[in-house]
């Protein structure tokens, strides 16, 4: 039996020690309407789905992506095999294992219904579940549609230091972050910070020295060492809290570092390693509850199909959404692949969106969490998207 995380004062708010430590106690939720867990992971900064799940056989890919391409499956440092025409970025070894177990569904060419190219605006809409920024997030409205938790310890959970708009709203939520969490700053951010510091002679010099002693390569922040700290630090304990009887059933996490305008190869690898370690930690934390869990991993939009002049990509549209969990009918790449011919691109630049993100979310909510039509209309107001079927395993 895994012991619970070292609970900080903040987490005592959840009332966890009293309930969870008393093993064998009959939980108020033993016959609860749902034992299903729902986790949403926000990837802030526009993850490049095309590089995460590339159609490696497509000759167009080489034309657009040239130096950004990774070797094909079977080659050294090559993509991981997904059994079809798509490969998986090699930094996602843990997720590849889940794919093999049938617990990971990769959905291509998904995008929200909004068409904006600003990160802030698009994230607002992604979290609001609407075409403008609302005062509440769609996941909080989902919680509002669920039976009211009988104790504070069952409140929806935000794990990590940030309170996302996704979880703002009428329903009270709890938050948890480890004390003295080792900050894991994404490579994209380090890179920008070092660049900015160069404006100041004195500070720039000292920063360059500091970066050098951390083993970062000159010019490119290349963190090839295994990810330490970061998402795994709060995802693991989040899983444990979700697993506990009387604990939360809905949780949200977020990580950044996806805005790979330059040096995409090392920077994306860094961010993906974080995500992989985080989702593996979440699964481990959930333990037996993994079989009843669905994790939705989404990003606000994708990236340009063409590489830019700084070995990176710019803001795009269609990207990959992921569904992970024992409850997910995974082990495949879903969605409708739009193709990479120039005439198939969106606005002659992006992966064309063929699935509305809210179709995926609605399919998950309906089939995994039992959210009905009326409630669904409140979760995603003014969304005509039909719920996607076939995402959740039939029991």
């Amino acid at each position: 039996m895994r012991h619970l995380p070292d609970l900080s004062r903040r987490s005592v708010l959840l009332g966890m020690p009293a309930l969870a430590m008393a093993g064998g106690m009959r939980s108020a939720f033993a016959h609860a309407p749902t034992d299903r867990r729902l986790v949403v992971v926000l990837l802030r900064g526009a993850m490049d789905g095309l590089a995460v799940v590339p159609p490696y056989g497509d000759p167009q890919l080489a034309q657009w992506r040239g130096e950004l391409l990774l070797p094909e499956p079977g080659q050294p440092n090559g993509l991981l095999d997904l059994g079809g025409r798509f490969g998986l970025h090699p930094s996602l070894a843990g997720l590849h294992q889940m794919y093999g177990d049938g617990d990971l569904l990769l959905w291509h060419a998904a995008a929200g219904p909004y068409r904006v190219r600003s990160h802030f605006d698009a994230q607002d809409m992604m979290e609001s579940g609407a075409l403008q920024r609302l005062d509440s997030g769609w996941l909080n409205r989902v919680a509002g549609a669920m039976p009211k938790p009988s104790s504070n310890s069952a409140r929806p959970l935000v794990a990590g230091d940030s309170m996302p708009l996704l979880m703002e709203g009428r329903v009270p939520v709890a938050s948890w972050a480890p004390d003295n969490m080792a900050a894991k700053i994404p490579a994209t951010l380090w890179s920008q910070i070092v660049t900015l510091s160069a404006q100041d002679k004195q500070i720039g010099q000292a920063m360059r020295e500091g970066i050098a002693t951390r083993g970062f390569a000159d010019g490119i922040v290349d963190q090839s060492a295994p990810a330490k700290g970061g998402m795994a630090q709060f995802a693991g304990p989040a899983g444990e809290l979700l697993a506990a009887p009387g604990g939360p059933r809905i949780a949200a996490l977020e990580i950044g570092g996806w805005d790979t305008h330059q040096a995409q190869k090392p920077h994306l690898a860094d961010a993906l390693k974080q995500l992989d370690a985080g989702l593996v930690a979440l699964k481990q934390g959930l333990g037996d509850a993994w079989s009843k869990t669905a994790v939705l991993v989404i990003t606000e939009f994708g990236r340009t199909v063409r590489a830019n002049g700084t070995a990176g990509t710019d803001h795009g549209t269609g990207s990959v959404a992921m569904l992970a969990g024992g409850a997910v009918a995974g082990g495949r790449v879903g969605g409708t692949w739009p193709g990479l011919r120039q005439d198939q691109l969106f606005e002659n630049r992006d992966v064309a969106p063929t699935t509305d993100l809210w179709s995926l979310a609605k399919g998950l909510l309906r089939d995994h969490m039992g959210v009905g039509g009326t409630a669904m209309a409140q979760v995603f107001p003014a969304s005509g998207a039909a719920p996607q079927s076939g995402l959740i395993r039939k029991l």
């Binding site: 230091d161 003295n180 996806w258």
Partner: protein
């Protein structure tokens, strides 16, 4: 010279807060804070000096009962110390009169007391509240006297048990002089070595200060002049003769406070702290003159500083002062509009950046020059704290307005662009808090 309101807050204060308006007249804003004591809205429940001394006695009793180390959450001294630090952090984050807070910080550092020596921990907060704050806008002699009579200083620099060898007690117990307080008073607090004082002067001053001690028990715990420990006879310091007794010490301190070398030393330190690592000699000279003309009137001296051309760093000209860790963390929390609930985080971050509150490693206090705060590993730590603070603060912050708020006229186009095009709001805020402009004031 443009006295931009944002510059007043950034350069002379602790940084802007989104819920506090820029003062319409920045010079008037500063001058108003040169009037009156540095009082602040502390929470209730903090110990005063007598209470702090009682906590110290309580701990000694507890140690007698158990030979083991007392856990921190049961240690009355550690609890009081932590409460004091958090209260001070709350003041820094919330204060509207942040120029006053900068002056309190300056003087508390000039007259460093630290928990690293002397068993002072619970006394440090009361020292700042009772000896420093009421006197920041008075005359330097009064400030010096208040400091030198406070138990925190007497304990920290070991004067509590400094005994005149020829005093009744000294003759009986053969206890002797401790010169620490006298030396640091002359070297660091007043005339400085530039005055040419000799070892004999230091020893004489130490004799003068014998008996300046602490009563550690009773409701009247606090400063106590122990006449039986005082070294008899008159003593000569810097060619001036002072009578035996407590009044001789008061007179000697006043003499040192008004000495021309002190005027120079204090003016230089103020100018270096507030204006530049290499303060303009003309500024130091003008402040010195005003000090001497007014008997060390601190508002008058600060008035000279505020009105000096070049005291307001214009964008793109010269190199601004580097924010110390305390100033950087306080400015970060203020820029994000944090409230008292984040005070423990602020305190922890100052420790993480190796500037623990009232924890300076020596009586010299914290350095006021940039080169001592540019350790590369510590700069990377600043970035890590920026990232954490940004994660916490970004959701509630007006990110678009933040560069202008936090950096005023010092924002560079590159930083503004990076912030506005960042991958997320938390990353935008982290970039801002990690920008070199934000690390200076």
């Amino acid at each position: 010279m443009i006295m931009h309101p944002a510059i007043a807050l950034i350069h002379f204060g602790l940084g802007p807060r989104p819920d506090q308006n820029l003062p319409p007249d920045s010079r008037a804003w500063l001058l108003a804070q040169l009037d009156g004591p540095g009082a602040a809205a502390y929470p209730t429940g903090l110990l005063d000096t007598a209470g702090a001394l009682a906590a110290g006695r309580q701990r000694i009793e507890m140690r007698k009962e158990t030979k083991n180390k007392i856990p921190k959450d049961q240690d009355p001294v550690a609890q009081a110390d932590e409460a004091d630090q958090r209260a001070e952090a709350m003041i820094w984050v919330g204060a509207e009169d942040s120029f006053r807070e900068r002056m309190v910080l300056f003087w508390a550092n000039h007259f460093t007391t630290s928990r690293r020596n002397g068993g002072t921990a619970a006394l440090l907060g009361p020292f700042v509240r009772e000896a420093i704050r009421p006197n920041i806008n008075g005359n330097f002699p009064d400030l010096l006297l208040a400091v030198m009579r406070h138990p925190a200083m007497l304990a920290y620099l070991n004067n509590e048990n400094s005994v005149g060898p020829n005093s009744p007690r000294g003759l009986k117990t053969h206890e002797g002089l401790n010169e620490n307080l006298a030396r640091e008073c002359m070297e660091l607090h007043t005339v400085s070595p530039a005055s040419g004082y000799t070892q004999q002067d230091v020893t004489a001053m130490a004799r003068i200060l014998t008996g300046w001690s602490v009563k550690r028990d009773g409701a009247d715990a606090g400063f106590l002049y122990r006449r039986f420990a005082h070294e008899p006879g008159a003593h000569v310091v810097l060619q001036q003769r002072f009578a035996e007794g407590e009044q001789g010490g008061i007179d000697a301190l006043r003499f040192l406070a008004l000495h021309p070398a002190t005027a120079q030393h204090v003016s230089f330190k103020l100018a270096r702290h507030f204006v530049s690592d290499t303060p303009p000699p003309a500024l130091v000279s003008a402040m010195t003159t005003r000090y001497r003309d007014t008997g060390g009137n601190l508002p008058a001296v600060m008035g000279v500083l505020i009105d000096f051309p070049g005291a307001w760093p214009q964008p793109g000209q010269g190199v601004r002062k580097l924010r110390t860790p305390v100033e950087y963390v306080a400015a970060s929390h203020r820029a994000l509009g944090f409230d008292a609930s984040q005070a423990p985080r602020l305190v922890n971050q100052t420790r993480g950046l190796e500037q623990p509150i009232w924890g300076a490693p020596s009586p010299k206090g914290w350095s006021d020059v940039a080169s001592d705060w540019l350790d590369p590993a510590m700069l990377l730590k600043r970035v890590e704290f920026a990232y954490v603070n940004a994660a916490v603060g970004a959701p509630k912050a007006d990110v678009a307005a933040l560069p202008a708020l936090a950096l005023g006229p010092y924002a560079s186009p590159a930083t503004a662009k990076a912030v506005s095009s960042a991958g997320s709001r938390p990353e935008a805020v982290a970039l801002l808090l990690s920008s070199p402009e934000f690390w200076r004031r």
